[in-house]
């Protein structure tokens, strides 16, 4: 500390050698912005005490991130934390001087307080491009209507929020990426939101309440990742959709749905995905797809599909049929991953001989990598692996990972026996 006092008294003017040696202060503004943007906000603001030139450099950084890294709050008192966090953010925003392009608020202890409204208003006035808000505690936070008037938004990410845009909301014209998790939104609002963002390329939707029929009308959509509970999903006008990952978190053993017409969910799902490249069918979604009529193969093969991942119950006849239909409809498949659903280990050997049928053999001409995870050695599973090995001439690697150590030896012994169509195939056994 004493050195600080001495320095203050001695160096009134910067000495000549100092100005020569100081190479960082005169870097161009955008470079300084880059450097300061990579620091946690605390260090960035502290740079204001370094020297005269640095006093207000931090105030120009276009990117503000407030998360747990910024505040060392080691108290449990909610009011105290709230006051502190609010205080800090208010200060920073007040002293900030320049456009803000990215704002992220993700403090683990902050509830959805009304102060956030104020900050969003501030953002909406400064042409914000990326906005990330994560409320980790408490009930769903409802962003104010000024959020929906930020027309420069390119990326919007909300966690634990309730979305209710004003009636005058016309969409985000520039929005390319939307990430909504743990949100509440009504059916109409959802449809309107998606369809009024013409530039939307990426959509992530997890754990949502209030939407049962997902209607995705997004002409530029390329990436779609969704996990939740819904009854129906349909794509309109999504010709560019290349990556789809869907998880249905509830078991749809709904007889009514099945009885309601023979509309094929499978056909409807794929009809608007002509260029799909990567598909992940998770949780119970395969059961959903298996509802209704399942053809032996799709009318239009998915020629671009080269990665497929399916969560399946090998004992369920409908699911196996749906899976087979899929496998026969992607001639250029290169990577396949089959994950056995762990909790549905029914002992009913309903589809015991499903994969044995020889006349369903089809060649997987390009299949190189296969991964089968979570199996326990039951006949249906082993039949599937046998089927795969004898129909993949280009196979390079088959990785098998059982669910548990029970019956490993039998499993391995059987695996060893299977014929392989590909002379290059490696069968890799991983420990459970």
């Amino acid at each position: 500390m004493s050195s600080v006092i001495k320095q203050r008294e001695s160096s009134r003017l910067p000495s000549k050698t100092d100005t020569e040696l100081d190479r960082i202060s005169n870097l161009p503004g955008h470079v300084i912005d880059q450097i300061l943007s990579r620091l946690p906000i605390r260090d960035a603001v502290r740079s204001s005490v370094l020297s005269r030139k640095w006093r207000y450099k931090w105030a120009k950084i276009p990117c503000l991130v407030f998360d747990n890294q910024c505040f060392d709050v080691s108290s449990q008192d909610q009011t105290f934390i709230k006051n502190k966090v609010v205080n800090i953010i208010d200060h920073v925003l007040l002293l900030h001087n320049g456009p803000i392009h990215k704002f992220k608020l993700s403090h683990r202890d902050l509830l959805g307080v009304t102060d956030i409204d104020r900050w969003i208003l501030c953002m909406s006035r400064s042409s914000i491009k990326e906005f990330v808000l994560e409320i980790w505690k408490g009930q769903r936070y409802k962003p104010p209507s000024c959020l929906f008037s930020c027309q420069n938004l390119i990326h919007l990410e909300l966690f634990n929020c309730l979305l209710k845009p004003p009636l005058t909301f016309k969409g985000f014209k520039n929005l390319r990426s939307l990430d909504l998790q743990h949100i509440t939104i009504t059916q109409d609002v959802f449809e309107k939101l998606i369809s009024s963002c013409p530039s939307l390329e990426r959509l992530t939707l997890m754990n949502f309440t209030g939407v049962t029929h997902l209607i995705i009308d997004a002409p530029n959509l390329q990436f779609f990742d969704i996990g939740g509970i819904f009854e129906d999903v349909s794509f309109l006008n999504t010709l560019h959709l290349a990556l789809v990952s869907i998880g249905l978190y509830v078991n749809t053993e709904n007889d009514e749905n099945n009885a309601r017409g023979n509309s094929s969910k499978l056909l409807r799902f794929f009809v608007n995905l002509p260029h799909i490249r990567r598909l992940e069918i998770q949780s119970y979604f395969l059961k959903y797809l298996a509802m209704g009529y399942v053809p032996s193969r799709l009318p239009n093969p998915c020629v671009d599909l080269n990665h497929l991942s399916i969560r399946i119950d090998f004992d369920d006849l409908e699911e196996n049929t749906a899976a087979l239909c899929l496998l026969r409809s992607c001639p250029n498949l290169q990577e396949l991953e089959m994950l056995a659903r762990p909790d549905e280990q029914t002992s009913m050997e309903r589809s015991a001989n499903f994969w044995e049928d020889d006349h369903w053999s089809s060649l997987f001409a390009h299949l190189r990598m296969v991964k089968v995870v979570g199996i326990s050695g039951v006949k249906s599973e082993m039949d599937f692996i046998k089927f795969l090995l004898s129909n993949s001439p280009s196979l390079e690697q088959l990785t098998v990972k059982p669910a548990s150590q029970e019956g490993e030896w039998e499993l391995m012994k059987e695996l060893l026996r299977f014929r392989r169509a590909s002379i290059f195939a490696e069968v890799i056994y991983l420990d459970p």
Binding site: D22, V45, L50, N83
Partner: protein, 392 residues
Amino acid sequence: MKLFEGGVRRQPPYPSSSEALQSLLPSTQLHDPNLKVDMAVTKPEMMKSYIWLQTADGSIQQVEQEVAMFCPMICHEVIQKGMGSSKNYAISLPQRVNPAMLSLILDYCRFHQVPGRSNKERKSFDEKFIRMDTKRLCELTSAADSLQLKPLVDLTSRALARIIEGKSPEEIREIFHLPDDLTVEEKLEPLKNTTDDPRIRLLNRLYAKKRKELKERQKLKNVEVEEERVDDRSVDDLLSFINGDSGDSKGIKTSKSKKKNRRRKDQQKSTSTNDAIKNRNKELYGLNSVCCSAEAGQKSWAGVGASSNLHDVEDDIFASKNELDDGDIDDEIDPALKEKIDREVEDFARRLNSDWPERMQEILSFGHERKPVHFSLNGNGSLRRYANSEQR
């Protein structure tokens, strides 16, 4: 990896030369001993074209075309202006690119322009490449920026940020040779940073104490007692004052102090040091106010005379420190360090004492520059809004 901006297309490298190109010795005419040159010459030279570059110091060198074209600025010059094809038409590089930096940049380009490298390889090259002293790092950033080589600017700014992160201001100033040129006045302002660092808070307290002493000087000179208080009375208080409690200055003072205590409970650890300073200043001026009896209710002021002798004030500061100070803050500060600080404050005060006359001149001129917003009321003295709450 976005290489170019401004829509300038990168020319495809000649297939033959890109295969032969591993790391060839560039034919340079430089005498720089710091040149980082890869000495591995593996293939016989094949027919390839060179670009001529001239640095600000006048020296000219030729560089393989695909390596040089990795830099957008050079690319632009070649394509748009047709420069660089011969020695006479060498491209003049911006001033920030000196020969040493140019050779570093060319090494970078030479590695990265080869298309077949994996991301892992590139990353490990980058990590080794970036290991250099801070001075060169800054120069390299500057040079890369002037050549518009964005990936290298990203790399160097990340490295610089890593250096800065987590360090104290003194350390950073030392590393980068920054002048410590914030004026006394600026330093004495509570540091407007949003940090909970105990060192910063300590610094603030130190400065606050120094400021108090400077103000003491000022007050000694002034006939009228200048009380800079924060006007933190609630609307109700103000109204009651206006409406007729003006005679009871005691009442006002006590309500203020009560308020202060209440507030302190609510905001135990306020990062805005304004509060801490406001509190302390109020307490200090309470000493010298006419109604110091009102303050006698406070334990901390018991036994304090109304004398404005410096030494007494000093003692009071130190004695009352324990009561006034926020328990939370103290818990985190090493007592040995605290003592050291106290000793330094004492030193400072003594120094102040010694060159008091000229100091007074300085301080008086400070006082004039500051134009605090004030309310003048019927009470005693004028109540001013604390100047430091003016945000610059």
